[in-house]
């Protein structure tokens, strides 16, 4: 690589610099206390996945270009250029990271390795090494936002099909899936696919909620890609819709990263405060059950059930008790995983890794801890709100031949509701 190009790439660190990042780079003691926090390092034993090692690559470039001591005596820090060798390792350690931030939880200085890697992603994108798959998915989502009229009719007719199912399930021929309804209380943002819309529609209908369905899905591949601009545009699609319709709250489907993007990142990215609140669908369902707006049969779930905290909902999103309360309301035999809540192991499927086939082998290996945890409970059902988690759990189940039913929580809730319809909730 030419000097000019190396300097430009290193410059990405300077452009993205902020106080937290600077401190993280300066203070890490390289004590490797974080090593056993990372499911990928623990599952594969591969040094490139040791959290501090992933960050070290960025530190090495920073030392070479921007740090006084590093420029004076580069050898002391093994300071390096962002050359092909470095970028190759950086690509693997960065895009593999599920941003679960379990390493941050255990680090004596709470160093957020995933935050350091957000700079790594920006650098890889600048080097033309951003992940192709994520990039294409992100661009497609942005295009859908730019030209909604191209997609609208197809989407709405799809929603009509789901609406017909909702009518059969609830036994109420007037049940609907409203779209573009001004003045609704709730804008519900699902995923592409009926599975995230149908149960929510049943629950909203039964609770008598005033809601409307977003034309857009909440999944955000720009976030996984590490392109903040694209990620913001993707989230803007439904945030603008919420503003236009004047809703009181945006409710995100069970998906994990989408909730964190909407709840925590979007205001910071856009620099504007939301005039509505953002909640997760499980917060809403928990409230409906507590307030008696929907009724559920407490013995509906047969067999031992456990719950997996998706990282972006639990440790990084703050919802620990709501999902547990819901599951407990439906099941007699609830068994928590150990450790749980903020110490929950990442299943290995986050950060968009399920969309990147080059990591398939390591991804399955990185689920070792999760499998161990599930086995220890003896549960035969696992409730996992996040779609990426479920994809990973399904593959882990097949790989390890577990006797395990993997389900979103919304489906369990709908099955537990006394409904007048003739059709079962599951398609």
């Amino acid at each position: 690589m030419e000097t000019q190009q190396l300097t430009t790439l290193a410059g990405v660190i300077d452009k993205k610099m902020n106080r937290q990042l600077k401190q993280y780079i300066d203070i890490c003691a390289r004590c490797a206390i974080c090593k056993d926090a990372c499911h990928q390092y623990v599952g594969t034993g591969d040094f490139k996945y040791l959290p501090a090692r992933r960050a070290e690559l960025i530190r090495q470039i920073y030392k070479k270009y921007f740090d006084k001591a590093g420029r004076f005596v580069p050898a002391l820090y093994e300071a390096r250029d962002p050359d092909e060798n470095l970028l190759e390792e950086l690509y693997e350690s960065t895009y593999a990271c599920t941003a679960c931030r379990r390493c941050m939880y255990f680090c004596p200085f709470s160093i957020d390795t995933a935050w350091i890697l957000s700079v790594a992603k920006a650098m890889l994108i600048a080097a033309g090494m951003g992940n192709e798959m994520l990039s294409q998915l992100a661009d497609a989502a942005i295009m859908k936002g730019d030209q909604p009229e191209l997609f609208r009719d197809v989407l709405v007719s799809g929603f009509k099909d789901i609406e017909a199912e909702v009518r059969e399930i609830t036994g109420d021929p007037s049940a609907e899936i409203p779209v573009d309804k001004e003045g609704a209380d709730i804008l519900y943002v699902g995923l592409a696919g009926a599975h995230s819309i149908r149960p929510a529609a049943v629950i909203f209908h039964e609770a008598g909620a005033s809601w409307t369905l977003s034309l857009f899905e909440s999944a955000n591949y720009g976030f996984f890609l590490g392109d903040a601009e694209k990620a913001r545009k993707i989230a803007d699609r439904y945030m603008d819709e919420a503003l236009r319709l004047g809703v009181k709250e945006v409710v995100i489907t069970e998906c994990g990263h989408a909730y964190r993007v909407a709840k925590i990142f979007h205001e910071a990215w856009s620099g504007k405060k939301h005039p509505f609140r953002v909640r997760h669908i499980l917060e809403v369902i928990d409230e409906y059950i507590t307030d008696g707006r929907i009724t559920v049969d407490p013995g509906s779930v047969k067999g031992a059930i456990t719950y997996h905290d998706p990282c972006q909902i639990g440790r990084n999103g703050g919802l620990f008790e709501e999902p547990r309360r819901i599951v407990r309301a439906l099941a007699a035999d609830f068994r928590d995983l150990t450790p749980n809540r903020e110490q929950q192991w990442c299943c290995g499927g986050g950060g968009g890794i399920v969309a990147m086939s080059e990591f398939d082998e390591d991804r399955i290996k990185s689920g070792a801890k999760k499998v161990e945890q599930i086995r220890a409970t003896g549960a035969t059902i696992i409730a996992a709100p996040c779609e990426n988690c479920r994809l990973q759990l399904e593959q882990l189940r097949d790989h390890h031949e577990l006797d395990l039913h993997i389900t979103p929580i919304m489906d369990l809730v709908v099955e537990a509701m006394p409904l007048a319809g003739t059709k079962a909730a599951q398609a």
Binding site: M17, N18, R19, Q20, L21, K22, Q23, Y24, D26, I27, C28, A29, R30, C31, A32, I33, K35, D36, A37, F47, L50, A52, R53, E56, K68, A69, A75, L76, Y77, E78, R101, M104, Y105, F106, C107, P108, F109, S110, I111, D112, W115, I264, F265, A268, W269, G271, G314, R315, N316, G317, G318, F320, E342
Partner: protein, 239 residues
């Protein structure tokens, strides 16, 4: 001997303190003038109040309970080192000014005996911890993660500690004599008491100070800035 002490324990000390103070000031200035990221990076669950956050930060920083859970042995040695280092630091204040009360209770001899024990224990614990850290960095992932900076710092530390222990265990010079020397530095009228120069620990004070000088000079430019950075970084954890 005189010249060696002049270099390391007088002029070197001045230089080291100046570089250390200015270096840390510069480091803090750099941190505080770099804009914060608008994205909150906290982990849940978070304390609800400012005071709660502050308390959690202090607990996380001083006790590192999470690190204790994941690698108890490393936590133990790190705790041992840091507490002993703190004790040694407090002990060293005696060479600026004698503590009130304690010497009256213990008597002069009693005080020296107490200091010998306390300092001896702290020095030994620090040495054990540093040797453990060095050992840990010689194999597997710890070795792969280490860079020369890590070994340089540990070597400097070991030098400081071994020479300090040598003075403690093999010397017969007491705090009041070191105080004469250190007070003279503070008054900018440096002198070296004959009692030190001509004792068996003259060279060990010189070498202790050589390592101290180097450590202080490198301190602000090394990962040791975690001494101050850990507070703000741990505060970010619950923002």
């Amino acid at each position: 001997m005189e010249t060696y002490l002049q270099i390391t324990s007088v002029w070197g000390t001045y230089l080291a303190i100046a570089v250390f103070v200015l270096g840390i000031a510069w480091r803090v200035y750099e941190w505080s003038t770099t804009p914060k990221s608008p994205v909150p990076l906290g982990l849940f669950p978070k304390p609800k109040t400012g005071a709660g956050r502050f308390g959690k930060m202090l607990k996380d920083t001083f006790l590192a309970p999470h690190s204790a859970r994941i690698e108890p042995r490393m936590w133990l040695f790190a705790m041992m080192f840091h507490v002993a280092a703190l004790a040694a630091f407090v002990g060293h204040l005696r060479i600026i000014q004698e503590y009130p009360l304690l010497p009256q209770w213990l008597g002069e001899d009693g005080m020296n005996t107490f200091a010998a024990w306390a300092g001896g224990i702290a020095g030994t614990l620090m040495m054990i911890a540093v040797l453990y850290w060095i050992g840990r960095r010689t194999f597997g992932p710890f070795k792969n993660l280490s860079v020369p900076e890590d070994f340089l710092l540990l070597a400097l530390l070991l030098g400081v500690i071994i020479m300090g222990n040598h003075m403690r265990f093999f010397g017969h010079v007491h705090a009041e004599t070191y105080r004469e020397w250190f007070q003279s530095l503070l008054a900018f009228r440096p002198m070296l008491p004959d009692e030190i120069v001509h004792s068996n620990v003259g060279w060990s004070l010189g070498t202790h100070m050589l390592f101290v000088d180097l450590l202080l000079i490198y301190f602000p430019f090394s990962k040791l800035v975690h001494t101050i950075g850990s507070f703000s970084a741990n505060l970010v954890r619950s923002e």
